[in-house]
Symmetry: C2
Amino acid sequence: MNVSQEQTASHNLPPILQKKNKFTATNMYQRTVRLNISAPTQIVLAIGTELKVMLDRCAPPQSKSFSIRCTPNVHYKITPPITDKNALPYPLGPNTILLITMDTVSETAFDSKLSVRYYGEKTETLGDAILHLTAVEISLDVDADRDGVVEKNNPNKASWKWGPNGHGAVLLVNCDSESINNKKPDNENSDIGKVSDLKDMSKMVLRTNGPSQLPEGYKLSMHISQSTSESVRVFRPRTNTKTENLWKYQLLKLFLKDFLMVVGTDTLTQEVPYLGGSSELEFHVEGLRFPDKDFDGLVTINLSLLEPCGKGFPETPIFTDKVVFRVSPWIMTPNTLKPVEVYVCSTEDNYSFLKSIRNLVEKSGYKLKICHEYMNRGDRWMQDELEFGYIDSPHHRFPVVLDSPRDGDLQDFPYDALLGPDFGYVTRNALNEEVSSLDSFGNLEVSPPVTVNGKNYPLGRIIIGVAFPTARKGRNMTKVVQDFLWAQKVQEPIALYSDWLFVGHVDEFMSFVPAPDRKKFRLLLASPDAGYKVFKSLQNSGLGKAEMFPGKEEAISVNDLLSDKKLQAENRYVQNCIDWNRDVLKKELGLDDEDIIDLPILFKVMEEKNEDSVPRAVAYYPDMVNMIVLGDQLGIPKPFGPQVKGVCALEKEMCSLMEPLGLKCTFIDDFAPYHKLLGEVHCGSNVLREPFTVRWWNLEL
Amino acid sequence: MNVSQEQTASHNLPPILQKKNKFTATNMYQRTVRLNISAPTQIVLAIGTELKVMLDRCAPPQSKSFSIRCTPNVHYKITPPITDKNALPYPLGPNTILLITMDTVSETAFDSKLSVRYYGEKTETLGDAILHLTAVEISLDVDADRDGVVEKNNPNKASWKWGPNGHGAVLLVNCDSESINNKKPDNENSDIGKVSDLKDMSKMVLRTNGPSQLPEGYKLSMHISQSTSESVRVFRPRTNTKTENLWKYQLLKLFLKDFLMVVGTDTLTQEVPYLGGSSELEFHVEGLRFPDKDFDGLVTINLSLLEPCGKGFPETPIFTDKVVFRVSPWIMTPNTLKPVEVYVCSTEDNYSFLKSIRNLVEKSGYKLKICHEYMNRGDRWMQDELEFGYIDSPHHRFPVVLDSPRDGDLQDFPYDALLGPDFGYVTRNALNEEVSSLDSFGNLEVSPPVTVNGKNYPLGRIIIGVAFPTARKGRNMTKVVQDFLWAQKVQEPIALYSDWLFVGHVDEFMSFVPAPDRKKFRLLLASPDAGYKVFKSLQNSGLGKAEMFPGKEEAISVNDLLSDKKLQAENRYVQNCIDWNRDVLKKELGLDDEDIIDLPILFKVMEEKNEDSVPRAVAYYPDMVNMIVLGDQLGIPKPFGPQVKGVCALEKEMCSLMEPLGLKCTFIDDFAPYHKLLGEVHCGSNVLREPFTVRWWNLEL
């Protein structure tokens, strides 16, 4: 026996006998490495990786047993386990495997060592296989616990889970514009123009620890997939050399303000510097697109350690760390959220309307923004051209306007007037689809938070209007916009039937107002039944000669109105259509009848023939449900109903329905500049609201 | 009080007091209907629907209370509940609601009735609102419990759940061709050519019960969404009139063999006949496309009852029943499944190879199919042009060939020779992508069933080869094919690194063979280390002068081979590449080292420069892992190794590794017609295998 006691004493015992190793085989990446008898093998080991050596594979012929020695920071384990630890050298079987780990990083390259000695039949030495080892620690880190700080090596950093007990980092689509002149959304700019743009990005940190340089030929490489490259760009401060130290690097970052794209559009992989010692390299991750039909919103970024395979051969990734982000969805804000700014158009014919709105907004303490005629070119339908929403992350959030494919004369307003620093812009273009009136965003609303059969929608549900699925002909919202809305996921949309209306918008028959009780809101629905009830009650009270539209050329007595059989038939049809929607809304929002208020509104069928030659309805008098909701202040289209003792019977009915909820009604005359053009107060305005306090990633989806 | 005791006696008590109603409000569709004082209202009620009447809505002015009477088959309930049932008439509040259900169908139209009488302050009658009711039963049915029979109104028919306790009907893509002449896949034919085609479709039954005709203006309509119309077509036997009875209809079905498309391509909605009485109308549902990136495989079909809304107004859907199907994924068959047919090409230079294959296949008891030269035009790579798989449903299954976008001279074979009755065809065209050698299906394999960290893959996992994600340049399988494979879901793919090979196929370094023990299979991997071990052992045994490739112009002694440093370096690189894949396969298939067998195979780097100027490897001698597996018979490329006592040392080593598993090795000389053209036995053959006994819908996904 030529293996002396002295020799074996310096061998490390298998780590399982020494101390509990912090990595276990199941969560550790195992890497197969080869030994070589003729020359030492150099290996770089990323901490967290287990090296697996098939001892028989490169053993000299006739090898029967082996022994192992190594420096103290190297740990090993043999499988199948050696039963008799004292029977040195250990017997070599065809499946004998050596597993090697290290748990402290190297100070210099190849400062650690493990050697295997092979013995023959008579324990004569047949050869030594030597491994020179360098251990490095590599961790690509993100804010996976969503507290605004990039923690070190979160075990959940490579996956995404919804909910308050969930995890996973968040990314914003960088769709605002840091520039005010020559602006375009920052995600359409290939470089970073201003340092302020960094706050729209998510931080990602590469933490490394090891020798001052990686051994010759080893590299760090960041890489993403082809499809991810359409969704994300990663930037880092420009550095001059790989070897500069952290101090220098911080200096550059402060003074040069110069950033380099690492991976992103057209660049799937790129080397990143290894800074040496214990270092942190900061990256800035920019989201490029919103979740959509072809993109679930998840983005994976990988960082690999590459090993050289000899001259002329490509490098092999020997360790890969990865992180996952989810792009923030675009989130709509219901009427129950606090207003910030009210938007309205100024036209040559709406001076007094504008004055009424200004009074209401100023009284309520919000800000009024007027879109002037040079911009709106006479298009007054502020509700229809755009929808306000926002995006949110633990580190930053800002409003984002969704620009409708409607593209009326207001079409430049969202881009030219709204897009700016911390005000994002997104749109969807209907390429091969016909855009109809149903693509106007009066046809895109959102409910307050609801719970439906135990399922929570703490951000509410989006509501759009379409044609009946059973209709052979009919108008719909374009598929590109519908796909976008459904893909945001956090406000699961409901499709109502709005094609029965000439204009075809859900805001013509429904709205939400805040309430102190029950579900904290009421759904308001236009109701011809409720309308007829008011008129019949007037007739019954002997007021049949009172006039609807008093003093206007449309004036008509209550008696004449009630005797119009055609109008009755039309309103029976309209009530049918609204009732169908009522039933859907009750089911999809989990509402009781007590959560719904029927407003007295009559409709009439538009005489003008449309292309489908289907009768379609418009409001007979100003459509009170089409209101603007500013906290407890309601701006309601003035209905011009019959006067009873100097009070409009319809206004009185409206007030009696709203005031018990603590709401204050202001009736705004929109007759000439809006109602006669088939819209009302809501169609002609838009409200930017505060975001939800509930964060979207805390939803249980 | 003018409500006599006699009158109220005939009023039904609220159903909750009479008997347990089989529908509860939570699972029942609630429909709002209006009453009318001036004329009776006609209502058709689908059983399972609850009618909701807001009693205050159309009450005459000054109404204070009400009473109800109805025919015995009508049930009603009042909310808020009447506390004192004897206090007739009941008080009328603003939120008083009447809920009406029926649980037996009508024999004639409007044979049931409910009336509401409204009373004033002094219980004087103010008016009666009368409902004339017709109850019908409508159920669109599918085989949601997957037993091959379309059961009635399965409560789970409108959703899909994976697993043995799951539910949801199954659809096949009708991708075979009933015709042999002028054939094309049946899903590309807009009509049904042969009655035999019906067996490739799923049955769907519309069960109705009610009066002999629906009341005037009511209709049944089947409808699907725009995106569903790309995935499915629904047919029914052509009928002459809506009123014909079931007997007539059965007769037509037998004799006319004439089918009509109800919904599908370009037809989103269509009326379907109501047959009257208790009837069944059979539909045949045809799948048109496989799951893919833009299609999750789920298809919803709706059937609505439409109510007329008066002359000139569109009908309203008042009841909708829906069913869901999932399209069968395309499923690959691993080497461990029983072969059915072996496919191989006949070329002008492969006569003796073909003879060897014929011997092996006939010995094994399987069928040999030869693709002749007029069809293969010299392209011998039968493995590369196509992959066999199958689709499965409770009622039918058949093999489906996936045609590679490779499109060599064999390109017409899958369509021209394989597509036929009960033999389906599917392909993916790379429109804007470059097709590379990695798109050949030697680069598409599937593992036997595995369990990985507790997750079962009872149909195995698909394996493809791509470039390293860290490589700046590299070849990949086209995205269209990768997207297709991932979308099938039931054999979740694994991407290996195969771009290090000149040809670039995973079958050049791996295969699976059946085994009696452990996981019931072994993974075979090519191993230069194992190869060198054989040659060194020969040298050590004094056989260094024995020749590799004996008798061939390539002949080289073991000593010369072992002293080739360049070859050693190349094989070290190759072993690195294979080890990388070994580590991935162990992790992704949950394998232990004992599940893997290293086969003695050397590689060399191809001298020919490729466009990426990256060195790429080919087998140095016939690549034994590239074998054909037929049950326990292995057809292995004859390696032409050094002869020891008349026996090839490589064959001997191979046998010693395979025979303990009960496998029989037949070495087939493919040197000239395959090996020298950079392929081997596996590349030159293909095997159609029996499907799994495990059904894909029983997977827990």
